[in-house]
């Protein structure tokens, strides 16, 4: 299959399996996905994937890996554990991410100071099983990830359904909050492959600030941290279901997911009469 690593074959694609020799260590440096065999001094592949060569660096890119977080990524995660002053969030990567209590907006104003009572009542904010959208704040020296929700658009997710796709298909966009106007559906594209499809709620900055400030100091958790869904009409539920199926279909054919592609695909779908569509 393909030629020797580095030379172009007619497909220009060399696939190496685990343990296959891809280059000699005298002429190349080894990158990710490879290791050095001492006896034969050749570079062997440690994963199955495509061999990539950049000048003198040879590496193997595996076809499927878990999501690896980078600072600034927007991710959708699920709370798995409530710990002392932090939550553990599953973002589909090598280890669970940590969301510190000091990295969330507390009701009562963005600048509200953390009280001791906040630490003792963390489940009023996020409980085990809650879905949230956050941004990767930092990566600690041991590889674990820290999140923050210090924006009025981040926080607990409601009124929708989760779709899990391969992380490699989500492109980095300017904004990961999409809206499909003819479907009345909001989409949050997490870079970790978790996509939230929900009822459309127009984002109003002043209203959001008002919610965040709450009704004074204290444990007013209505608004931002509410666990109650709003009323979702039948046609919106159908749209949410259709968009979810659409995303899964695009992913099953390895098509990258972006706002343009999803919008075009949904418009095409919408052009058929709604009675003939299955999956409503």
């Amino acid at each position: 299959m393909g030629g020797v690593a580095g030379l172009g074959s007619d497909r220009d694609l060399t696939i190496a399996c685990t343990g296959e020799s891809i280059a000699s260590s005298q002429t190349f440096m080894r990158g990710h996905g490879s290791y050095l065999d001492q006896e034969t001094s050749s570079i062997l592949s440690s994963v199955c994937g495509t061999v990539e060569r950049v000048n003198k660096l040879v590496s193997v890119r595996p076809v499927r890996t878990r999501y690896s977080p980078e600072v600034g990524d927007l991710v959708v995660g699920r709370v798995t554990e409530v710990g002392p002053r932090r939550w553990k969030v599953d973002i589909g990567s090598k280890s669970d991410a940590a969301l510190l209590l000091s990295s969330v907006n507390l009701p009562g104003g963005v600048q509200r100071r953390k009280l001791e009572s906040d630490e003792l009542q963390m489940r009023n904010f996020f409980q085990e099983g809650d879905l949230l959208v956050a941004e990767v704040q930092s990566i600690f020296h041991d590889g674990s990830v820290g999140l923050h929700t210090r924006s009025l658009r981040y926080g607990k997710l409601r009124n929708g359904s989760l779709v899990r796709l391969a992380p490699v298909l989500i492109q980095r966009l300017k904004s990961h909050f999409l809206t499909l106007p003819n479907a009345e559906v909001d989409i949050v594209l997490g870079l970790n492959g978790y996509v939230w499809v929900a009822k459309h709620i127009p984002f109003d900055v002043t209203k959001a600030e008002g919610e965040a400030s709450g009704k004074g100091i204290g444990m007013d958790i209505d608004g931002v941290y509410s666990d109650v869904n709003e009323e979702i009409p039948i046609h919106v539920r159908r749209s949410i279901s259709r968009v979810s199926h659409l995303l899964k279909l695009l992913a099953s054919y390895q098509l990258p997911i972006s706002d343009v592609i999803v919008q075009k695909a949904y418009d095409f779908l919408h052009s058929f009469s709604s009675e003939n569509l299955v999956g409503g």
Binding site: I22, S95, L169, Q254
Partner: protein, 316 residues
């Protein structure tokens, strides 16, 4: 050189494997999954790696490897634990665990289909019944399912299939490893009996099998090694062996000229002469090479197909 034969019931060569088949990525929620079968003996493996590890299992310099095996019948007991501990040793030496410290590699294996003996005997220890509707020639009624008693140890071919399925699942998950593991089982039989079983294509075995009697077959102590033995052949075996090999070092374009094979796993049961043991190891090495070639083709096919099963799954 062993070649997989065309039909499972008409294997005539002692070094022929049953038809191999595999299916990659069938479990959508796992990082990697694969099923592997020797004929109608099928094993399914699933890998989640690297994932979050419990604090008490955490190792600071490497990933923790957890192997779980579910037998076809019964609850996992001592024989299962023995097998998983042998797999633990095997994969700890093959996987590059130091690349992902403080995480967990979780490997779960289950035998999903196992052929049974067509004539159950009182001496049999490996009477596992097939889960699927097997074409039972004698029309023997299947034993009642769902025995919640202690489990039987996995047969040598079951072990080999489990190792191959795990190896494929680990390749599918993309966890770094030193090479690819392939395993094969073999049985040492009396030469006369072994020949007659294979010549008759597996149909005849318990009789004498009076075909042409060669001079070497007159000697009752002369033995023959059968690769990928069926339950009937295992029943008549003097000793049985499973060998697992780690393959690495070949060029992607060339065939196995520079391929190195290290022995990484061996379980043998029964009395065996040293020469026979070496011959068994060599036969299994050839068989494992065929299995490796088959596995590599399956991986290539999966990566080059347009919809290689990377679709989304509905979150809970």
């Amino acid at each position: 050189m062993s070649q997989p034969s065309s039909s499972s019931s008409s294997r005539t060569s002692p070094t022929a494997l049953r038809p191999l088949s595999t299916s990659l990525g069938s479990l959508k929620r796992s990082d990697g999954s694969a099923s592997f079968s020797f004929g109608n003996l099928e094993s399914l493996a699933s890998v989640n790696a690297p994932v979050e590890v419990r604090i008490r299992d955490e190792l600071t310099d490497r990933a923790t490897l957890e192997v779980l095996f579910q037998p076809l019948q019964g609850v996992p007991g001592i024989p299962t634990k023995t097998f998983t501990s042998s797999l633990q040793t095997l994969f700890s030496s093959v996987l590059l665990l130091h690349h992902h410290p403080r995480s967990l590699v979780q490997l779960v294996i289950q035998t999903t289909s196992s052929p049974s003996l067509s004539l159950p005997t009182t001496t049999t220890r490996w009477s596992t019944s097939s889960r699927r509707d097997s074409k039972d020639d004698q029309g023997t009624p299947q034993p009642p399912p769902l025995l919640l008693g202690p489990d039987n140890p996995p047969t040598p071919t079951e072990k080999a299939a489990a190792i191959n399925a795990s190896s494929l699942a680990l390749l599918d998950a993309g966890f770094p490893a030193r090479g690819t593991v392939a395993a094969c089982a073999c049985a040492v039989l009396e030469r006369r009996r072994g020949r007659s079983i294979r010549r008759s294509g597996g149909r005849q075995g318990f009789g004498g099998g009076e075909t042409e009697v060669e001079e070497e077959e007159m000697d009752p102590s002369s033995t023959i090694i059968l690769l990928d033995p069926t339950p009937e052949e295992l029943e008549l075996a003097i000793s049985t062996h499973v060998f697992g090999f780690l393959f690495y070092g070949s060029e992607p374009s060339k065939e196995d000229d520079t391929l190195s094979a290290d022995l990484v796993m061996n379980e043998s049961v029964g009395p065996v002469e040293y020469e026979d043991y070496l011959e068994a190891m060599d036969t299994c090495r050839q068989g494992a090479k065929s299995v490796l070639g088959f596995m590599r083709k399956a991986i290539e096919r999966r990566h080059l197909s347009p919809s290689s099963g990377q679709g989304g799954s509905r979150g809970v």
